[in-house]
Symmetry: C2
Subunit: 224 residues, 2 copies
């Protein structure tokens, strides 16, 4: 485990090279990090008996590692096997003059590597903190932290953020300056926005327990 910082420019490998024209690839590590920070559910791909399995799971990160709950993928995910983690935000539907040019505005990050099982107790606790704070900032200080038994029951995996690629599509459809522009049809983007709603208390909650600030202030804010 090296502690050298990862390169700000994403590496170009056989797996991360962008091969299609219409999707804009980015080699900027800060764009990768922005996409990861905008969500908390990824799609984790593994190979089981020669076949792909794709499961949604939560993640957290620091500058070097993506942390994943191993238990979520218990039936398929052993450590030390190749994985692919993809995080996608769908920003809107691209409505063109022609069906052929219809598309999606999105931001997507794909990380390739081999996940290792986190065994060092200090890293495990820190990884769980990152994972918790990623989806629920403030909860690590507020909620009861994992006890020894819970820690033992949790499998945490770490995937290096080194080999990753980013694809982003944004903006208007591409046929505004082609022959189809003369058709007189409407074209543009139907935006999609995800937002946090008002907190819904657990029905089992006794009266008089207020929503803590760090959760209450998310209501109405954008997510993704």
């Amino acid at each position: 485990m090296t502690t050298e910082p990862l390169s700000a420019r994403l590496p170009v490998t056989d797996r991360t090279r962008h091969r299609r024209l219409r999707e804009q690839g980015s080699l900027d590590r800060s764009e990768l990090e922005a996409i990861l920070d905008a969500g908390f559910v990824c799609h984790l791909g593994v190979v089981t008996e020669g076949r792909p399995v794709v499961v949604p799971t939560v993640y957290g990160r620091d500058d070097r590692w993506l942390y994943l709950h191993g238990s979520v993928a218990s039936r398929s995910l052993a450590p030390d096997v190749p994985v692919c983690v993809t995080v996608t935000h769908v920003d809107g539907l691209v409505v063109a003059r022609s069906v052929f040019e219809h598309g999606v505005n999105y931001r997507s990050a794909m990380i390739h590597g081999t996940a290792r099982k986190v065994t060092d107790p200090e890293e495990k606790l820190e990884g769980l903190r990152l994972l918790t704070e990623h989806s629920a900032p403030g909860q690590w200080s507020y909620a009861r932290r994992p006890n020894r038994k819970e820690l033992a029951a949790t499998t945490l995996l770490a995937l290096s953020l080194e080999e990753a690629s980013v694809k982003i599509r944004a903006g208007a459809p591409d046929d505004g300056d082609g022959p189809d522009a003369a058709l007189g049809l409407w074209a543009g983007v139907l935006p999609l926005t995800t937002a946090w709603g008002a907190p819904r208390p657990d029905p089992a909650l006794p009266p008089g327990i207020a929503v803590p600030d760090h959760l209450a202030r998310r209501a109405g804010t954008r997510h993704g």
Copy 2:
């Protein structure tokens, strides 16, 4: 290619059997269809040189087949290889008294199979219609349909909806009746909602072209 209807009860196979307790599996095909119909972007997993690759792509469906744009995954997806398609809707964050019980409310469908390339021209056109109408209902009648050249340039894949599994988690956290309930901490769900925004016209659009009704009426409606 059989035309017999698929069973209303999803089949239980080695790949679709639910093994974890806290996620609610469903064997109801109508739940699978509801999850597929609520979104239009899936995560498609394939195996390339022994390694998993997970790419986001659009889809459409009928009662029997999921249709996918082959070109999106051109670098990795050949027909007649095993694929896994996963569609996930994130409905909220489950905030528990303990970090250990934190989780996500979600609806997820996973389809396993081997995608075939659609070669019959009639099925190809119908598949593209389903794919277009799935994300942009009304556009197949409104926009210019694919011409012969565009059809030839499009690879359409069909994946049987036969072998699929559904997982849903909904509702409050699970520690409301455990010892942690005495901690006096707030617990509940932070809901996430995705909605269509107001259509954004292509800047290249000449003045005087109104947003057609089938697109305008989506603004403000829920997605996912």
